[in-house]
């Protein structure tokens, strides 16, 4: 692997929608690309979404196309369970250390699933943010790429580990696998490391840490997904009852100097979308508590559509706090509708926090010449050899991430072209 990477090669860090887009667009221009993903499979956060706004289409649909592009492209190599440890050097000549964590399953895996059947231990399913459980030998999800099982480190030294090994007819389970540190050369680096949800428990008035029935918008996506822990039913965590009266609280962490200074852009649209998951369930109601509904450009059409939905109501208010009715498990939202000053104490059986975005932490200090903004989003490196793409560069929705990633791909190609033409190459 290391051999194919040269100062003509582009490194893309992060295998979410932005990283895949950047890598594919560059590779389909005939460039050598290595895509490095920290998790067990590609797709990132979009693979954990049920649907996209405003078309209500399915993220895995675009993922399928991208995976097919990837399988068909020989310029592109993918490393999963791979984490960047350090980046040194300069434009056209970066040295990158990459840590490869063991999957304990080698390329012989046929994804037949025998190991999962043999193993008894269950672990919280990372794909469902731990809302459901999964066997400790597992396929990350039905669209996982690479299509290969993973064995959770927790069972390696146990009988279960042995069971998995025995169950595999193809000698694909390798409990001896060790962590590796590889070093590669790259001409340019694209950071597509994406975002992570703001820690909801820090938003104390909403009691995410105290009340089972207060969840985040990304957890709600898993509830709505037929592949998710509830098979697509909107069941509230406290007692598994179906949630019929759901509150969506905007700016959960965003636009708040006690938390995130910036607006995370996607949350309004995400809640509008999720209100439609609710309306599809028959009589269920949604209430959206907001400061400003930020439905930019043609998303306005979708906002209008939701406004016309009799099952959805809007309240211009930042909810002040949430209290629990211990008898019914209902949540009591207190606040004031600032359009004309109307006080409310509203009961809901489930509260979804439209949680804000912050840049995903890399676990390593960024190369010092990379410029970031006040919220830590990445603008790129001074030497024009490294670039931020997608949500790593700014709070962006999917189409703007794809746009940003495509732009980053060109900049990376350009910086390689500059270097090599400076060396009299190309």
């Amino acid at each position: 692997m290391a051999s194919i990477a040269t100062n003509q090669t582009i490194l893309v860090v992060g295998g979410g929608i932005s990283g895949m887009t950047a890598a594919l667009e560059a590779a389909e221009c005939g460039r050598q690309v290595i895509l490095v993903e920290r998790n067990t499979s590609l797709g990132g956060r979009t693979a954990q979404l049920y649907r996209y706004f405003p078309k209500m289409c399915h993220p895995t649909c675009g993922l399928e196309i991208n995976l097919r592009r990837m399988k068909a492209n020989r310029n592109l190599k993918v490393l999963t369970l791979a984490e960047i440890r350090s980046v040194s050097g300069k434009r056209g000549d970066y040295t990158v250390k990459i840590r490869l964590s063991p999957r304990y399953v080698n390329e012989k895996c046929t994804a037949c699933g025998e190991c999962a059947r043999a193993v008894e231990t269950e672990i919280p399913n990372p794909h469902d943010y731990g809302l459901g459980k999964i066997k400790a030998a597992y396929l990350p999800h039905a669209m996982a790429y690479p299509l290969r099982y993973v064995i959770d480190p927790s069972i390696i030294a146990t009988e279960d580990g042995q069971r998995a090994k025995k169950a595999c007819k193809y000698d694909a389970v390798d409990l001896e696998m060790k962590e590796e540190l590889v070093e590669m050369k790259f001409g340019s680096v694209i950071w597509a490391t994406g975002w992570k949800p703001y820690d909801a428990s820090k938003i104390q008035p909403y009691g995410y840490d105290r009340y089972d029935n207060v969840i985040t918008s990304i957890e709600f996506e898993r509830l709505a997904d037929p592949h998710g822990p509830t098979g697509g039913k909107l069941l509230r965590p406290s007692d598994g009852a179906e949630a019929k009266n759901i509150a969506f609280i905007q700016c959960a962490g965003s636009r708040d100097e006690n938390h995130l200074r910036h607006c995370s852009r996607i949350c309004c649209m995400a809640s509008l979308k999720q209100s439609q998951y609710v309306s599809e369930k028959g009589e269920s109601k949604s209430t959206i508590y907001y400061i400003d509904i930020r439905a930019i450009d043609r998303f306005e059409d979708f906002y209008r559509k939701v406004q016309e939905d009799p099952q959805v109501s809007f309240v211009k208010s930042k909810v002040a706090n949430i209290q629990l009715d211990e008898k019914t498990g209902e949540l009591i939202l207190k606040g004031v509708d600032t359009e004309g000053y109307h006080r409310y104490e509203a009961r809901h059986d489930l509260v979804v926090l439209a949680i804000g975005m912050e840049p995903e932490s890399l676990g390593i200090p960024l190369p010092e010449d990379i410029i970031t903004d006040s919220s830590g989003f990445m603008e790129g490196s001074k030497d024009l050899g490294q670039f931020g793409a997608g949500a790593a560069s700014s709070p962006l929705d999917v189409n703007r991430s794809a746009q940003s990633a495509t732009a980053a791909a060109l900049r990376a190609i350009q910086s390689i072209y500059r270097t090599s033409s400076a060396e009299g190459g190309q």
């Binding site: 700016c251 708040d256 100097e257 006690n258 706090n321 000053y341």
Partner: protein
């Protein structure tokens, strides 16, 4: 003529923390967080909007700010970190000093009584404070108020938490002149700044 900035500027110059008023983004978290919220004619966030809209008299003659219990919920929840409690105090003080605050507003009256009581000896004399508060509306009403609360009074006395002797003296500062000089000077500087006549 609305949305001229005259009143906003007046507030920024004369009201404690007044320069924060323009930073409000009308989310309403303060209004929803106030324990006495239901008793406010205008919520804090609405008052900020009224100030921007130039509704001077409506704001300064309102008894809303006088409902502030100083619980500080609004301050810790405000996403723009406005020191709302202090702005409310500042507005109340400004309205009071301009003589625009509602006459006989109980908290306004009590606050005045408290301050006078404080300044007199340098420390608050709770019994005198209580009595003068009860007798604010004259002797008869005072007796009523006092009787209404007599159980509490007696209870407190039994618990040795009210001292009848305080009526004749009680706690006080040794350097009372020094204290008075400081208060007078501070008041003089503040009034000069805010262009208020000493009163």
């Amino acid at each position: 003529m609305s949305y001229r900035n005259d009143f906003l500027k007046e507030v920024e110059e004369n009201v404690e923390e007044g320069e924060w008023v323009k930073m409000c983004m009308q989310c309403g978290v303060c209004a929803g967080s106030c324990p006495f919220g239901p008793h406010w004619e205008h919520s804090p966030q609405k008052i900020f909007m009224m100030i921007r809209a130039g509704e001077r008299i409506q704001v300064l003659s309102s008894d809303s700010m006088w409902m502030c219990t100083s619980c500080y919920n609004c301050i810790v929840r405000c996403p723009r970190k406005l020191p709302i409690t202090h702005i409310m105090h500042g507005l109340a003080n400004y309205a009071h000093r301009l003589g625009l605050a509602p006459k006989g507003q109980p908290t306004r009256v009590f606050a005045k009584t408290f301050w006078d009581n404080l300044v007199k000896t340098g420390r608050v004399n709770e019994l005198k404070l209580t009595l003068s508060h009860y007798f604010r509306d004259g002797f008869i009403q005072g007796i009523r108020n006092a009787l209404a609360m007599k159980d509490i009074g007696l209870g407190m006395m039994k618990a040795r938490r009210i001292n009848p002797m305080e009526l004749f003296g009680g706690h006080g500062l040794q350097d009372l002149e020094g204290f008075h000089a400081i208060v007078a000077k501070a008041r003089e500087i503040e009034d000069r700044k805010k262009g208020l006549k000493n009163g």
